[in-house]
Amino acid sequence: MGRDRRFVRLRRRLTRFSIIAIGGFLCWYFLYVAMSAFAREFMDQRLIGNVNVGLVFGLLEFVATFLLAWGYAHYARAALDPLADRIRTEIDSAPDPRSRQR
């Protein structure tokens, strides 16, 4: 089953999504952390009243987290789950001793 064409496609999709998501997300977070440590004049600029760039940047980290969580759930439902379900049904109906161990 591990060399099955559909499984290879499933794994490629998940790997590609995970690498892009985690890479982009960690860059976004560490950009924020690094700016807070090294680019304070930029972060201190006021935007509206007492709200400054740093606060908005921080709030955008929350937005990014929520969006990515939603995006992953959406992508998994659309592109991963149907494929995984088909493969899983096959495994569970035609037991292959190796992939069913423990």
């Binding site: 794994r11 997300f25 960690l26 007492n50 987290t65 929520f66």
Partner: protein, 551 residues
Amino acid sequence: MTGRPLTFTLFALLVFITLGITIWASRTTRDAVDFYAGGRAFSGPQNGFALAGDYMSAASFLGIAGIISLSGYDGFLYSIGFMVAWIPTLLIVELMRNTGRFTMADVLAYRASRQPPVRTAAAISTVTVSVFYLLAQMVGAGALVSLLLGLKPGETFMGMSAKVVTIIVVGVLMICYVMFGGMKGTTWVQIIKAALLMFGTIVMTLLVLTHFGFNLSSMLGSAATASGKGSAFLEPGLKYGKDIAGDPGKTLINKLDFLSLALALVLGTAALPHIVTRFFTVPSGRAARTSVNWAIGLVGAFYLMTLALGFGATALVGRTAILAQDPSGNAAAPQLARALGEEVAGRIGGEIMLAFIASVAFATILAVVAGLVMASSTSLAHDYFGHVLMLGRPRESQEVGVARFAAFLIGSLAILLAVFAKNLNVAFLVALAFAMAASANLPAIVFSLFWPRFNGTGTVAGIYGGLVSSLVLVVFSPVVSGKVDPLTGQTLSLFPAGVDFHWFPLENPGLVSIPIGFLCAVAGTLLSREKADPDRFLALSVRSLTGGGAH
């Protein structure tokens, strides 16, 4: 004073309800799946609440509100690390749920040709991380509950100080939850706590925002004025990565230290044992994914609201009053609750709000310590006893018995250690637990799931390498010795002033120890003679991605 009896009553009610749940859970716990994983019967949303309840400790609730109230923006900066850490967790939760049965070691041992060394390493790492975290929570609980009940440092009870009594009561309760209630009892305690915490935080946030007419800018402005630090209070740099005028070297070290903390927070969460054991309490990988999505919603909403709690406390309670109650700011949230209650319904309102928020904090402490004991006793019984001592052939009824005994043992050890350490500054242990999890557990988890060449030697090398390096670096860091308050000359380290054997400049080891953990895992794999097993890796891939053959 009406407040204290009311607080006592609410505390007692909470203990009564949670013990009732424990008794119910113990009657319905029959086999290992019930005890370790609550029968895998929790739904995604339920487990999401439990994950949030397991994760948001008193250090989050009282601690972050306190840091914001005293250091402003930097408290917010700190809270974001705890929040974003759930994205790495989300990406691996389903794979881990499909692969393992009850513990992280189930995932790591899947591909190893010899299981016992891997199981032993994973159990040691799990217990170390959990006990350190537990110690921080218990010592914190001693101080917090005394504070919440308004007990003075000198007050004694049966010859013991208030702190010691609190540590023992909290410890005995957590042992009861885990020994008798198992995962089922622990999970419900955490669900209730999360619901209470969210409710309490929402009420306080709404009251704060109403006070400022839902104008964020005016809330920030009042807080900045009341803090006495002006606009610097709303900008980064009061606590983390401080600029030291005229000392660029020290400034750089401060900033690297902050990066190191951020790294440990974001990478540690997915590898914390008490979070990982929660992955296995749901029926499927998909339910596990749902539960992490719920946790992200709850944790995110909570940390957003701590902004209102922290800045609200500075504006409405005032810096001097917060510092007078507790120098680390832990009392800021309860003090704010009282101020808000007084605004709405006078003195009685203040007392009621204070008592309510104090019992939310108490529930928070109980739920987190129970989760930690649950995770370490599960690992000791299932990984060490079941797979190392009994070579994977124990009767499951035996394993559950051992797990109950392990809960008693670890709980008692934690009580003892916490009583000894009750006056030490152990707040650094929380960050250390995250750093250890990220250095020791994360490399092994990631490589097990994704690297075809990875093997058992690499797993063992990665776990010990990461664990030992983070511990050694902390022992020789300023948190253990050599950090002195420049104004008062008093020690800020674990050891008294005058003792100084530190050579590692950072307080957070993650920046160095996480790469060491990954390097050790790679080196162990490549240097060992153990052959990679491509078929076994394919079997793991199929199972982790599709859930075929999962428990």
